[in-house]
Amino acid sequence: MSLQMLINAILLGGLYALMGIGFSLQWGISGIINLSYGAMVILGSYISLEFFNLFHLDPFISMIMSGAILFVIGAAIYRTLLQPLIKGGIVFTLILTFALRLVIENIILKVWSADYRTIRVTYAGSNFQFGDAYIPLIKFLAFIVAGILIYLTYLFMMKTKTGKGIQAVALDKEGAQAVGIDVEKMYLINFALGTALAGLTGSLWASIYSFSPHLLGSIVGKVFIIAILGGLGNIWGAAAGGLLLGIAETTGAVFFGSEWQEALGMVIMVSVLVWRPYGLMGKKFFG
């Protein structure tokens, strides 16, 4: 594997890592397998597109708006649709999020059509040399920003009171109720945080690659793989899972041909499910 290939793989993996964490938190902590996650990522891309077209705003800035808007959308969806259904079990929320995906997908098709869109910032073509490899500036920036966002998510979960409250609910729901933590509120914040991460990823994605509603299905496939590789609800696990998927797809495309690129990720996921069902870095909670 050449240096160039490894760098490409890691840069792609960084975005996957950010993308996978939101999905993994929603599943692992709020107990919702969010099939509309891909639609929320793409929605973030279109939000950045609009800000770029209207105000010529750089996606690295408009991502703040994407994150905020998706946070609010996530909170509203949780409160009005998911919370009443969650008692019915995972099948109910699965069906609901699948329906949501269709609704969001069709809204996007209606508003922006199925055409591929791109956001071309002025520095899109710049790159710099590292050894004998070339690193595109914009991919490098997106990687750094993704890393910072992952670390901020980690800090939020580990250091803030609300973050610890979310952990407490995930660790022992009855214990959390016993100390007066509003369990539903923690689930809501966690779910909305997940959709915010989806939106942020969408904006970063839009600064580099072209996008259309067609991507939506494969995104859900990818986040499934990442979350399962890392262990549900595990931030660093999902980050590692994202990097691994980036590497697997990049090398897979070179060695087996690009038609096998996505299949390889699925093969890895199934292998993990068979040999380490709690994820590569996941461990059962203490006790």
């Binding site: 009171k161 409250g165 952990q167 214990g175 959390a176 100390v179 007066g180 509003d182 203490f286």
Partner: protein, 241 residues
């Protein structure tokens, strides 16, 4: 209502969905009083405590706390009003440190000086916890876990501490320590205590009054020393004929 009455449960029915567990329960806890609930497995003791804390909705009857009707209140609000709950099985957050477990008990308070003071108070009360403050709660022994659970409940500054199964699974020495601590909490902090206890001897020893639950209803309630002499209780719970 008498003004020294802290908790008043009147004619309460509660259960899980269609299955009714509690039937027409009435119970009172006065200020600075230690009250125990005894009864066989499945009598509804834990269900009663959970419905007082608000983790299980009640279908009939009312619950008053410090003169306020809390029957319809969600459990976080009840905890905020001064109920502290150490549930059966402790339900600690094993993946968090001992100190974070304790701080979670103060979740609804602002983390300021008074929380720090309460933390020091809990460490002074349960000395072993101090040394393990940065360790994961899952590493604690059974007795230490119970200390952590009671300490966590104290962190919300309760006026009524509710403990489900104080001595279950603990060594006799540890139980003696906990009994001393309960006496101390009442004496020094003026906290009332409502506890469920499977060891009836221990229960009647520390409590002022007791309620006997049988098949989800209160069958007898009396002063603890009188309950200890009751022939039915002697035969059914104390193992003496």
């Amino acid at each position: 209502m008498k003004d020294n009455l802290l908790l008043k449960v009147s004619n309460l029915d509660a259960g899980y969905g269609a299955i009714q567990v509690l039937w027409d329960i009435s119970l009172e806890v006065k200020q600075k009083e230690v009250v125990c609930i005894i009864g066989a497995n499945g009598a509804g003791k834990s269900t009663l405590l959970k419905s007082i804390v608000g983790m299980i909705p009640s279908s009939k009857g009312e619950i008053f706390y410090s003169g306020n009707n809390i029957t319809k209140m969600a459990s976080p609000e009840r905890i905020k009003m001064g109920l502290g709950f150490a549930p059966e099985g402790r339900h600690l957050f094993f993946g968090l440190t001992v100190e974070d477990n304790l701080l979670m008990g103060a979740f609804q308070r602002k983390y300021n000086k008074s929380v720090k003071e309460d933390l020091d108070f809990v460490y002074a009360l349960f000395k072993p916890l101090k040394g393990y403050s940065r360790k994961l709660a899952g590493n604690l022994s059974g007795g230490e876990q119970q200390m952590c659970a009671i300490g966590r409940a104290l962190m919300s500054r309760p006026t009524l501490l509710i403990i489900d199964e104080l001595s279950l699974g603990l060594a006799p020495v540890v139980v003696d320590d906990l009994i001393d601590i309960i006496a101390k909490l009442r004496k020094e902090r003026g906290i009332s205590i409502l506890l469920v206890e499977q060891d009836v001897k221990v229960a009647l020893d520390i409590a002022d009054r007791g309620y006997v639950l049988e098949a989800g209803a209160v069958s007898i309630h009396d002063k603890a020393d009188r309950l200890a002499k009751n022939e039915h209780i002697k035969a059914a719970y104390l193992g003496v004929a």
